[in-house]
């Protein structure tokens, strides 16, 4: 019994310490963002990695999600004679929820795990120590560009996901299920507001921060050789996904 509570206490202590370390890393990364010298090349490299190289996977995810939504939406709305609302259903679901969340989860799996692995490998092979010994701040050099890339590129990816989702929904709704295209587009425009898109993009920026911060942190503090790097990558993905879903609830309750 005592051992159980000791273990519980240690877990709680570790969770609090880790949370504190993550917040400190965030503050440091933001602080160093405004401290010269400014190295934009690294930032653009990370933006290309997080954003451009995730395009294919988010286009695939977005389009098929839109298509499924249209199919399921049509199935449900037909019972009430409300097939004309398939368009807005797809668009609102994508813009407010599925676009940001699915983009976040896809980028976590792709870029988040890669970031944790890369930084973890750098840690266990002393490359991060080497940066420090060359008078280069490792957080400024490694973490800040990644966080900037996440916060800037996730909203861009989310809007692409929303767009291809709506296109996918249009294809299924209009071409396959026979909804009038004018009705589909008109109802979509009627029901979707700029706020819906804006709040979705705000969520994406938060998810981008979560993915890059958690992944960078896990990799930066990896230890124990190859096994440690693997653990860091797994933890990065799991923790990022959980935090995306949890923060999604709270952000939704605040915004909507």
């Amino acid at each position: 019994m005592r051992e159980f509570f000791e273990r519980l206490g240690l877990m709680a202590e570790k969770a609090v310490i880790t949370t504190g370390q993550i917040i400190i890393m965030l503050f440091q990364a933001v602080y160093y963002l405004f401290l010269p010298p400014f190295k934009f090349r690294n930032m653009f490299k990370q933006m290309e990695f997080v954003g451009v190289r995730s395009l294919f996977v988010v286009v695939l995810t977005g389009s098929f999600t839109g298509m499924v939504l249209a199919m399921q939406g049509y199935n449900a709305l037909k019972r009430f004679g409300a097939e004309s609302l398939v368009g807005p259903t797809v668009a609102l679901s994508m813009a407010r929820e599925l676009g940001p969340v699915l983009t976040g989860l896809m980028v976590t799996g792709r870029a988040g795990s890669a970031m944790a692995t890369e930084l973890g490998t750098m840690r266990v092979t002393e490359q991060i120590d080497a940066l420090y010994t060359m008078a280069i701040n490792p957080v400024k050099y490694l973490v800040t560009p990644r966080i900037v890339a996440g916060v800037l590129m996730l909203p861009v990816l989310a809007i692409i996901t929303d767009f291809v989702g709506v296109l996918g929904g249009y294809f299924v709704g209009v071409k396959l299920l026979g909804i009038n295209p004018g009705v589909y587009i008109g109802r979509t425009i009627d029901f979707v507001s700029v706020n819906d898109i804006f709040y979705g993009l705000t969520k994406s920026a938060v998810f981008g921060l979560i993915i890059t911060l958690i992944s960078s942190f896990q990799g930066y503090h990896a230890s124990g050789g190859a096994e440690g790097v693997g653990r860091a990558a797994t933890s990065a993905v799991v923790l990022s996904c959980v935090l995306i879903l949890v923060s999604d609830y709270f952000l939704t309750s605040i915004m909507f």
Binding site: E126, A130, I136
Partner: protein
């Protein structure tokens, strides 16, 4: 140049450094020897600021580097270079980008000048024509040479070596020893080397210090150490399993 005074460090209750006292002279090759796990790497990481001591001081030209601000210490770091045990080359960069890294980060030199300096440093370590290779394509010996070229790229005053010959065959080890002698004499740099390679120690050291159970127990020139009757030192230098140092 570097004075270490009563340096103490523990990890999770285990004492690793227990009052280290050592002087490193300018322009010399100082070698710290000791068994694996005695704290040699921990000691060298304190000198370069990767670790902070529990107590004690490290003075660089009279200034205590353990209590400096981050900004102040970053300027001090530019006087150092370090060759890590595995060379720690940045594996996403070419050899040229690795060696020129500090020059690109800390100077405004044009790219053409940096490339010339990189070429000169690589030539000094006996490597030519490898600029576009990736670290993964290099042999162990080549990685060490590139690591040394990177460590001396900014012409530092002090270069630290963490087990420079570990993992290398005897011929390559001797070649690295020659390289260290050549570069040190040419650049008149202060070298601090940690190793358990006795051949390397005998070949390059101006001063040898032995770290045992968290303290420097003996120090002197190679000849003085060879003649020193301390049984712990004798057992280590002669490579005997039997003696006052218990293996298990």
């Amino acid at each position: 140049m570097i004075e270490i005074r009563e340096l103490k460090k523990s990890f999770n209750g285990k004492v690793v450094l227990d009052g280290v006292n050592l002087d490193i002279k300018r322009g010399e090759i100082s070698v710290i020897i000791g068994r694996s796990g005695e704290g040699k790497s921990v000691l060298i990481k304190h000198i370069i600021g990767l670790l902070k001591p529990d107590s004690g001081r490290i003075l660089l030209d009279g200034k205590d580097i353990t209590t400096m601000s981050e900004k102040e210490f970053r300027e001090v770091l530019k006087r150092f270079g370090m060759l890590f045990q595995g060379a720690a080359l940045f594996d996403s960069m070419t050899v040229e980008e690795n060696v020129g890294f500090a020059l690109r980060e800390h100077t405004d030199l044009p790219d053409s000048t940096i490339r010339k300096i990189v070429k000169e440093k690589l030539k000094r370590v006996g490597l030519e024509g490898v600029e576009s290779m990736m670290p993964a394509d290099l042999s162990g010996g080549m990685k060490k040479r590139v690591g040394l070229a990177r460590a001396i790229a900014m012409d530092p005053e002090i270069v630290l070596f963490d087990e420079p010959t570990t993992g290398l065959d005897p011929i390559m080890s001797d070649s690295i020893a020659d390289l260290m002698l050549d570069t040190q004499r040419a650049l008149k740099t202060t070298y601090v080397v940690i190793t358990h390679d006795i051949n390397l120690t005998y070949k390059i050291a101006d001063m040898v210090a032995m770290l045992h159970q968290g303290r420097i127990i003996e120090k002197g020139t190679v000849e003085e150490m060879k003649a020193n009757p301390n049984p712990i030192l004798r057992q280590f230098l002669e490579g005997r399993a039997e003696g006052p140092i218990k293996v298990f």
